[in-house]
């Protein structure tokens, strides 16, 4: 790998610039779709049809003061917002984004792709817990406790569902999984995909599982004390994580960048945008669950179903695919 291409990967695609553009896009997209369902207009004035609104918002936040509360631990409080987006962006190297880079493989082409994804996504919530812990605010702390409870329970079905394509195709290499997928296997993997998407909502704290930052209950959860640049960094981490998890779902279950007529990055992007649309519609039509109801749903329905799904995959592998 030459230095030039390495710099390109880090700063342009699929690195910093791409992630920033994605953040701008998904923020705008979610606001506009939500506004349409709300019978509102949404972002309107800045740029054509309000497209520059997110850019303006972020610039505004960057110019504002980042306040560190007097009683909070200043090092912990200010370091976490820097580490969080880095950790959130790490899994990007594992995912095969486009046929043009590295012959269609991910930048890091490894036999442990699924494992890497799952582990790197799993680190994130502990960092967010630390933001709540370091803020010295009762509401932030409660948000941090809630995020731990939610992640510990949601990651079990998430990992089990992510294992199902690996089990079916006998490989953990994301490129191989993507190219082994056919219409038949996609159908076999469908229950796993649904469990993955539900667990994904929990991991990303999307409604109906937006319990850790429940505005009406605990103000803004672990975000409460953050402002200015720190807040932008945390939000950036959140959207990066959303991109990574959605891309993982598409790669594992829906054939990644492979399209009906041609293979391209835009096929992947379209599939991710569809997932984002589904998330926004769920957000627009469903209220929030209570913490204990979420735990009950997760451990008495989702996790057992994820285990059963593995049984179904083994059954299908032997009797339908006949491997």
């Amino acid at each position: 790998m030459s230095v030039g291409s390495m710099l390109f990967y880090i700063f342009v695609f699929p690195g910093l610039l791409f992630l920033l553009v994605w953040t701008f896009f998904v923020f705008y997209f979610a606001r506009k779709v939500l506004a349409y369902i709300h019978k509102r207009v949404g972002p309107h004035f800045n740029g054509p049809a309000g497209t520059l609104q997110t850019f303006y918002d972020i610039v505004k936040l960057l110019t504002k003061e980042s306040i560190t509360p007097k009683s909070a631990d200043p090092y912990l409080f200010n370091i976490i917002p820097i580490i969080t987006p880095l950790v959130a962006a790490l899994p990007v190297i594992l995912i095969p984004w486009t046929p043009l880079i590295n012959n269609g493989h991910g930048i890091l082409d490894t036999q442990y792709g699924v494992l890497g994804l799952v582990v790197l996504i799993g680190i994130e919530p502990f960092l967010l817990f630390l933001t709540g812990f370091g803020s010295d605010n009762k509401y932030s702390f409660l948000g941090g406790m809630r995020i731990l409870a939610q992640m510990i329970s949601m990651e079990a079905p998430f990992f089990l569902a992510a294992l199902s394509p690996a089990l079916l195709f006998g490989t953990m290499n994301l490129y191989d999984i993507m190219y082994s997928n056919t219409w038949l296997t996609a159908l076999i993997l469908l229950p796993g995909a649904i469990i993955f998407i539900i667990a994904m909502l929990g991991i990303l704290e999307q409604p109906p599982f937006n319990i850790p930052d429940a505005e009406q209950e605990i103000v803004y959860g672990f975000y409460t004390e953050y402002s200015g640049t720190n807040y932008v960094l945390l939000k950036f981490a959140e959207f990066t994580e959303m991109l990574v998890v959605s891309a993982a779902a598409v790669t594992l279950f829906f054939g990644g960048y492979r399209g009906l007529f041609f293979d391209s990055f835009w096929c992947l992007f379209l599939k991710i945008a569809l997932l984002a649309l589904i998330m926004v519609v769920i957000r627009a039509a469903n209220p929030r669950l209570r913490l204990d109801q979420m735990l009950k749903f997760c451990w008495s329905w989702l996790t057992p179903l994820a285990v059963l799904n593995l049984v179904w995959i083994i059954f299908a592998k032997i009797y339908i695919l006949g491997v």
């Binding site: 009406q216 039509a285 209220p287 929030r288």
Partner: protein, 549 residues
């Protein structure tokens, strides 16, 4: 009624007389008798206290304490008066709270604003007013507001000091060990509004809730005394902006009763239409707010969309959307210059609701997650309704058949067909459904009243350009009146006292239902989880405007 009179006649009274259709008015000579009378009345079924209202007669050197006691289900009400001396040392009376829990906060309010000490009250403390008014009793006629306001900085310092003291106390009581803490849920919390709930929690479990109110206390009752009879309208309508016309109807009726005037049929039906429009506008916010508390904002937006059309109706009539000031003593303020145009805008608003109704039912009222959250949670029984006087929609959600529009008809309601709208379970979900049902009922009432006006105009009995207002006397005779209306959140009671040849009210007591609904929050939330606070609090449809006045 006869039995109640018999009971009252056993005691030493100045007079016992009938008042309106459902009230018995009596004045006790000895304040020592009060508890005995109340105990006897309770055996007769009068178990609820609507409010306690002291009146300061500074010339006669006495404070007259009015008790409004109600038998909710048999519609027998008692208006009991007792005199107490005005001197602070001697200004005391037995508390009825141990017998009737619904009097609790009303007695505290009377104590804080008038200095009437209630002996035997379980927790007599200053309440509602901020610290700079402690021990000064601002509603007494000899309280000097101007002098008080001169010390602005000192007053603010006193308030700040109180918060710091409270904070220190919590910290020393709880320490930093263990899972117990005190959360300030409000007044700057995203879902609270200007109220502070001191929530004592253990982890996520609630141990105790102490509401701290008074953040929007505007002393409206005192403001009314400074204005003339027309000007009082603006104090009255600011009780709560969401249901604007109904408080004005209540106040206007009290003035008309003292002046001895009867308004025209056209004004009566107009009051029905305006009142119900206000009720719908308020209920739409309640509906949306309910879902807002569990994190779904779509419904709020949809409700605001429908509400715009009903506000258009108010705007087309009065020129204002929120603070309309459209009802005044003697009728309604404006004539209908172009009746057909206004009727069309009413039709448009009602059609808008009818069009959206099915979508609302399918998407929101049948939402599975809402059902999981709200079904069977926070139940109030009919006994609770009687004990704490939960009013209006909250009571009707528990199956209690209470509705002032039927029990003591006012405006044009006695000519309209209507029935009690109730739900059975009394849980949080029913408190949502009842609101939806009441909107449907209101639309039906508007249609009936509209029909009456239309036939009246056709037959020539009603002239919408002239009949709206009758002449009211410039100066009122001495007298007092009690009127009630069914407000969007429950019974609203006003007690108006005037002097001979007066140009402004001598005393106006405003009773609004949110006080009782906030009083029961501790009982409602104890043992629930932190996530339930916004939902259950939102389901009580509390408005801080009418809580603090």
């Amino acid at each position: 009624m006869e039995k109640i009179k018999e009971i009252l006649n056993k005691y030493d009274t100045e007079y016992v007389e009938d008042y309106k259709t459902t009230w018995v008015k009596a004045k006790l000579k000895n304040r020592e008798d009060l508890l005995k009378v109340v105990r006897d009345l309770m055996n007769e079924g009068v178990k609820t206290c609507s409010t306690v209202s002291p009146t300061d007669f500074i010339d006669e050197n006495k404070i007259e304490v009015n008790y409004f006691l109600e038998d909710l289900f048999n519609k027998k009400n008692v208006w009991l008066k007792v005199d107490v001396p005005r001197e602070l040392e001697n200004c005391e009376i037995d508390s009825i709270t141990p017998l009737i829990p619904s009097a609790d906060w009303h007695e505290l309010e009377a104590y804080s604003t008038y200095g009437v000490k209630f002996k035997g009250h379980p927790n007599l403390r200053y309440f509602l007013i901020s610290r700079d008014y402690y021990g000064k009793f601002p509603f007494r006629k000899d309280f000097d507001w101007k002098k008080h306001e001169e010390n602005l900085v000192e007053n603010i310092n006193a308030i700040t000091e109180e918060y710091f003291e409270e904070y220190e106390e919590y910290e020393s009581n709880n320490g930093h060990q263990g899972s117990k803490t005190v959360l300030n849920w409000g007044p700057t919390h995203p879902a609270s509004g200007p109220i502070r709930l001191k929530v004592y929690i253990d982890g996520e479990k609630i141990e105790k809730v102490q509401p701290d109110i008074g953040y929007v206390w505007r002393a409206l009752e005192h403001l009314a005394e400074r204005k003339d009879f027309i000007g009082t309208i603006i104090a009255v309508e600011r009780i709560c902006f969401m249901d604007n016309p109904n408080p004005m109807i209540c106040y206007s009726q009290a003035v008309e009763e003292i002046a001895g005037k009867e308004i025209t049929p056209f004004a009566k039906y107009m009051r029905v239409i305006l009142g119900e429009t206000g009720r719908i506008a308020s209920h739409l916010i309640s509906l949306g707010g309910f879902f807002g508390t569990i994190g779904l904002h779509t419904f709020m937006m949809w409700c605001l969309d429908i509400r715009e059309y009903f506000l258009d109706v108010l705007e087309d009539y009065s020129g204002a959307r929120i603070a309309t000031a459209c009802i005044e003593p003697g009728g309604v303020r404006y004539p209908l210059e172009d009746p057909q145009k206004w009727f069309d805008s009413l039709e448009r608003a009602m059609n808008k609701f009818e069009e959206t109704k099915d979508d609302i039912t399918d998407i929101f009222l049948k939402n599975p997650i809402m059902n999981t959250r709200a079904k069977g949670v926070g139940v109030f029984t009919i006994e609770d309704v009687e004990k704490y006087y939960l009013a209006g929609p909250i009571a009707r959600a528990s199956g209690a058949k209470i509705d002032v529009r039927i029990d003591e008809p006012y405006a044009g309601y006695d000519d309209l067909k209507m029935d009690y709208v109730t739900c059975e379970n009394g849980d949080t979900r029913d408190r949502l459904f009842i609101i939806f049902k009441e909107i449907e009922q209101s639309i039906d009432l508007i249609k009936q009243a509209l029909e009456k006006i239309k036939t009246g105009i056709e037959s020539g009995e009603i002239d919408p350009k002239k009949d709206h207002l009758i002449r009211m006397p410039k100066r009122m005779p001495a007298g007092e009146a009690v009127t009630r209306v069914e407000w969007a959140r429950g019974e609203m009671l006003m007690h108006l006292v005037t002097e001979e040849k007066a140009t402004s009210p001598y005393r106006l007591k405003l009773k609004a239902p949110s006080v009782n609904h906030t009083m029961v929050l501790d009982k409602l939330l104890k043992g629930k989880s932190l996530s339930d606070i916004p939902l259950l609090y939102g389901s009580m449809h509390i408005c801080q405007g009418d809580l603090d006045r």
